[in-house]
Symmetry: C2
Subunit: 208 residues, 2 copies
């Protein structure tokens, strides 16, 4: 038993996201209660790990019975901060940026892209899903106005650090970075770097 303020590893946190997906699926299927054993079997997870991960946030299950699917789903959403909308700004309206704008995950209720920015005058003013691309100089005005919390960096590697710094200055509180560069960050504004080529290179290793 421990409070939700505890340090939790990124690994465990990501598993909670996975559990949440499983629960949503079960809920749609009409399953109202499930044991860690059945959950593990169904989704190829580890029963002991499910229990440990969940127990970290208190007693979320019922001994002798299992976990109430709807309750646990709701509880996880709340613990993960997914029970309300997060407003996202996307910086970089190139190929990757414009694909991310259309990514189905950003059409849901949880993450909503509220503005798209680019530095290239050719792109400023074009539209992506009803959003007109703004010049990055508008960040300082629009981020507070739109109450955006999360930034997505889809800019070239050379521009990523400067853009991170700008986003910190204008009040963004967390950043997802697609540029293949390790950012120098301040602790109050964590950045998660996702480098697609590294995933490809991991696969290539298994082909030798």
């Amino acid at each position: 038993m421990s409070s939700s303020r505890d340090n939790i590893s990124a690994l465990a946190l990501n598993r909670l996201s996975v559990y949440l997906r499983c629960l949503r699926l079960l809920e749609r299927e009409g399953v109202s209660c499930i044991s860690s054993r059945d959950l593990a079997r169904r989704f190829r997870l580890s029963a002991a790990q499910i229990r440990k991960d969940l127990a970290h946030f208190g007693e979320l299950g019922i001994r002798g019975v299992g976990y109430r699917v709807a309750d646990l789903r709701q509880r996880l959403e709340s613990l993960l901060g997914l029970d309300h909308e997060h407003r996202v700004v996307l910086v970089g309206a190139g190929n990757l940026g414009s694909a991310l704008a259309r990514y189905p995950g950003f059409q849901g209720a949880t993450f909503r892209i509220v503005a798209v920015f680019d530095i290239d005058p050719e792109r400023v003013g074009t539209r992506h899903l009803g959003l007109e691309v703004q010049h990055v100089r508008e960040l300082a005005r629009l981020v507070p106005e739109l109450r955006a919390e999360i930034g997505i960096l889809a800019v070239p590697a050379a521009a990523a650090q400067d853009t991170y710094d700008t986003l910190v200055d204008v009040g963004i509180r967390a950043i997802l970075n697609f540029a293949p560069i390790s950012l120098s960050t301040v602790p109050e504004v964590p950045a998660k770097t996702v480098d697609l080529l590294i995933f490809m290179e991991e696969l290539a290793y298994f082909l030798r």
Copy 2:
């Protein structure tokens, strides 16, 4: 000291990719030799970890001196299987798929998208970077013909498992999956699932 056949963790493997990038950058800057300490300082890495990771593949450095940048870069490329072209097929020509086709990392010499497939007749025949979208039923003919080794899944979650199974049947040897689902895989064809929403959810946790 150990052979390149050893088990290496995905974590360590991903770090080798990072080191490789650092080395390429240093090489462009004209640095010919660097110590683990300087490499760590420059790119915010751990010197001991760099040494341990590299030592796993033999004695790649020179005691008292450091690592020869060009040599090590070349050695890592070879160890990771990045010293020759890998032919990639992309399945799913929707938003994410078409963005991936244009991703700068796939314009380089290492990974080359040689065909794009979709099941939707409306998309078949359209063009993405000089490649005409093929119907998925052509996979069985084209994968061997094009000698493709790697598949990228950019299909809806509901179609991902079937598509994985098809790719295995037609001879693909490793798969990068963007569908938010954990695939049931055979050991000969590893799949790496990349779920962008999980990254967003990780960030959301830090905003509570």
